[in-house]
Amino acid sequence: MTVLTSHLKLLEAESIHIFREAAAQFRTPVLLYSIGKDSTVLLHLARKAFWPAKLPFPLLHVNTTWKFRDMIAFRDRTVSEMGLDLISHTNHDGLARNINPFDQPPSVYTDIMKTQALRQALDAGGFDAAFGGARRDEEASRAKERVFSFRAGGHTWDPRLQRPEMWQLLNGRLGKDETVRVFPLSNWTEADVWRYITLENLDVVPLYFAKERPTVERDGQILMVDDERMPLIPGEVPQMRKIRFRTLGCYPLTAAIESEATDLDAVVAETLGARVSERAGRLIDHDQDGAMEMKKREGYF
């Protein structure tokens, strides 16, 4: 397997630089921790940026209550092992209205349980900056975003009015009501994330590795039956398939791939040879044309 690694050092240094600039320029930053591989790398780089000092900001997890059980277990273990300060937020209003990924269209569910929940949590914490693990290679509208991505009051993003960002200079001076999303992994690709996890020997959620798991097939996509809340069609019986996930989110909205990759090397090899993009497995992105951009304009990460 040929892997390029010399650029990982450059990417790591760039990300550390971004973390330090943001910590120096913003009053109350927070790190959006969504438990997946990108968050794992994000957290690792944050610790490197401030080591041996402690992280100068808390972690925030927006919990829709529909994450894979393995994800929550991994989150709790990580937080306790590293002695981190974690805020977990759920949109309780949405929960009370029984908003869920089965009864509502993905766009409605995502708006209420993720976008609105995130805005609630950011407002409640008075955070002026939030780090996120988004990468520009993920999706076309993300490819357009700055490292310091400014949001007007109400967390809205106007892609036509992005602040110029020249050289290594990051200007974090805020205007009235403005907040910022900070993306230290902007220039990383999916393959870089996996190479770096391998290089640094980082622990990730076991769902990234292939294993026999109970599944059903819906509209050509394989979904894992993670708990008893998954409604089955009359007569439908979950099938055991050897699957893994390229990206992790809410289990009813995250498609699995059939795979034999049971360790990091195999995952890296599979990623480098992949013929479809990573977000093909994210059901929320295909809901409508320009779906991700619409969500971002409204304040989604």
Binding site: R20, A24, P52, A140, A143, L169, R173
Partner: protein
Amino acid sequence: MNLAVLSENPSLQAEVQSKTTSEGMVRLLTCGSVDDGKSTLIGRLLWDAAGVTEDQRAAVMHASHARAVNGERIDFSLLLDGLVAEREQGITIDIAWRYFETERRRFVIIDSPGHEQYTRNMATGASHADVAILLVDARHGVKRQTRRHAAICNLVGIKKVLLAVNKMDQTDWSMERYRAIEADFRALAGNFEFDEITAIPVAALTGANVVARSVEMPWYEGPTLLHYLESVDPKTQAEDAPFRMPVQLVLRAANDFRGYAGTVTSGTIRVGDRVVDARSGLGATLQRISTMSGDLESASGGDAVTLVLDTDLDISRGAVLSETQRRPVNADVIEARLVWLSETPFDPEAGYLLRTATDLSPVTSMSVSAQVDFETLASTKAHDCGMNDIADCRILLGRSTSLDLFGDLPLTGNFVLVNAIDGATVAGGVITWVQKGAAAVDDNVLVLDRSRLSGLCADLGNSREDKAEYERRAQEVAILLRSAGVPVLIETD
């Protein structure tokens, strides 16, 4: 053209992968006037060099049929233009970042908009690039916007330029046409400091000379676009460049750990070397280079590290640690060339801040002396500048800061100009001349010092935190006074 022919070409991929490995990363900018085919060229490059996944291919083919802008052909620009407004209008508004790698190296492609109104986005893209691919439509030749983009590439420090003469299929693959445009461009490039100019005739739509060698232009014997990109040497700094590390943060931890965190912008430092804080002139010996993966013996340009010194220099964010011999200038008067990015034109009465590597200094006064004329590329006398203009200016700072000339050390010689009221980045510039201790103070300048601010800062003592707070308050007062037209100088202790 038949879709099946375009969709997959195994021989091209085999050619790409047969190359020997040379590790590294090259950051490319594509620029040029609107409709010269930048997004299409890069889309084509990604398509042919295997940077496109199956679902992206399917989506682009589907959308191409729906829009049919190129008749039966695939619209490669759809791979880059990711915003809804861009797809609707068929133009590029903001830069798009794309990543792909061949066996030889890793590429970061920055596709920039050609429209004049989005020049500021192009400038953002250019500042991150090692190499610029400047496109020219073979039918129209060099345009005003081509010259503006070349001037911005030059300003931000790009040294290597590839002139891609595109749409050769529209000019009957004419060698004369290509040679004339190349000569035209080489003549105008005499105004700039490019080290290396390479010209290639291409047709993005058919793929001629992008990845595959063109059969229509046997008279051209130079490299294809991909060959050029795989062999070009990205900018590298001289090995013996003087050491600089702008301090981002002071990190404190258990066991009295105290380190200066930052990214080395140039040169190399080793444990045991002497370093100085350029502003105070105080020196210390480097005791440790600390990282989470273990201590290092040395650190060089690009490394993000934490330096532990043997004595406390009492410095904070904004200071520049330097080698003892070749130090930055502690400047309070600078001359610079900048590109204006804001829709609001330069206003000599407005409050501005100068953001350099890690420092933010109040601007006491600023004046424009000249502008670049994009027809002739000559500097002409001017006193104002507005969006997309390139201007020469003189800036007086409210307090001195450590700076280098951009031509010597780009990362400690560049800056952005910030509107003090709304925080907007209004210009990006490079330092061409500096002066220290210029005593910018004359009778009209109000000096803000401890005694003048004694009421406002009565609650502040001499601790590190209080000094920082004093400086913050002084700066805010200075901003208010300057926006009311009062020239101000801040005196720090």
